[in-house]
Symmetry: C2
Subunit: 196 residues, 2 copies
């Protein structure tokens, strides 16, 4: 019979395991390494998660929740204009990657490329995150249209998707070049063009 | 003493092993699986490659060479205008991903996110590929400037990098959504904005 689950242990498994997955990749990280990092016996992993894929879904949830908590508010901060919020929002995300020295990339993009082919569970979670991310940007872009900052004919939802794709591509190149240059190029070249 | 290397075996290891790496990811693919797929004994892998990372560098070379061979010519095809070449070039790449049902992603992006943190050898190869890719697009954009298709004040090299980043981000989302929509959005929304 499994021991009763301890929320503190669960949270430590997600935090320590999530760090390993972020730095080494999902496939390269074994359950044993996750439990060792969290200081719990290997077998107890399955008291908390049905599978390594279920664990990945939870790690993604925590990552996405923390991004939303740290930066999501910027997109609805009505003290500034909608388009300037979008610029500030992505600058915030770029700072986030800079603080991590561009080494980890974005867990959403990492999982999208590494885990999607092998896990429908993870793919479905990523599709949900993409939808939420896209919706938060679309709402801000629509507000920009209402306030005449953005032409009414622009497809806000397509534009939101394009912003996400370009940003994720910049995260990828920043990881290879280990520099902020891709984010600078996003800020100086892509954003002004797309939001014109 | 190692057996003499056989170019046909080497090529089969790269082809079959490259397919495995593309579909499952690098870390999830073991040397034994690569040799089994190529039908050679495990030990012979090291007659051909110093390490799994050295193998990854060769797989990336072959992938990039095949992309250049299939689509690179479009960017210098002077029967059409430079900007229409760029549109045709990315449409060709989107077709490439569609034929693979969006399942594999781009090996360059996959490796950038998965292998870069753990292998300086792979990171350096990816940086070289990014530079070559960027240069081929920059040259075409500069030709567009000479032919007055693109404003002379635009930074062609920054624009080239932005095109690559957005396209790679679209490949990523296509893998999650399993649809061409991200490429359509790239073609209809991003390209016209960036090349305006």
């Amino acid at each position: 019979m499994p021991r009763p689950a301890n929320p503190e242990t669960r949270s430590r498994l997600l935090k320590k395991g999530g760090d390993l997955v972020s730095s080494r990749g999902f496939n390269a990280t074994g359950v044993q390494e996750i439990t060792a990092a969290a200081g719990v016996p290997k077998g107890s992993f399955y008291n908390y998660f049905d599978s390594k894929e279920a664990f990945a879904v939870e790690v993604l949830s925590e990552y996405w929740d923390s991004v939303v908590e740290l930066y999501g508010w910027i997109l609805t901060d009505d003290r500034t204009s909608p388009l300037s919020r979008i610029t500030r929002y992505f600058a915030g995300l770029a700072d986030f990657h800079e603080r991590r020295q561009y080494a980890f990339g974005c867990l959403i993009g990492n999982m999208a490329l590494e885990v999607t082919p092998s896990s429908e569970e993870v793919r479905a979670k990523l599709a949900t995150i993409y939808r939420e991310w896209s919706t938060s940007l679309t709402d801000c872009l629509r507000e920009a249209q209402v306030r005449k900052e953005l032409a009414p004919g622009r497809d806000a939802s397509q534009l939101a998707a394009a912003l996400i794709d370009t940003f994720e591509g910049a995260v990828m190149r920043a990881k290879v070049e280990r520099s902020r240059a891709p984010f600078d190029s996003f800020e100086r070249c892509v954003l002004p063009c797309l939001l014109a």
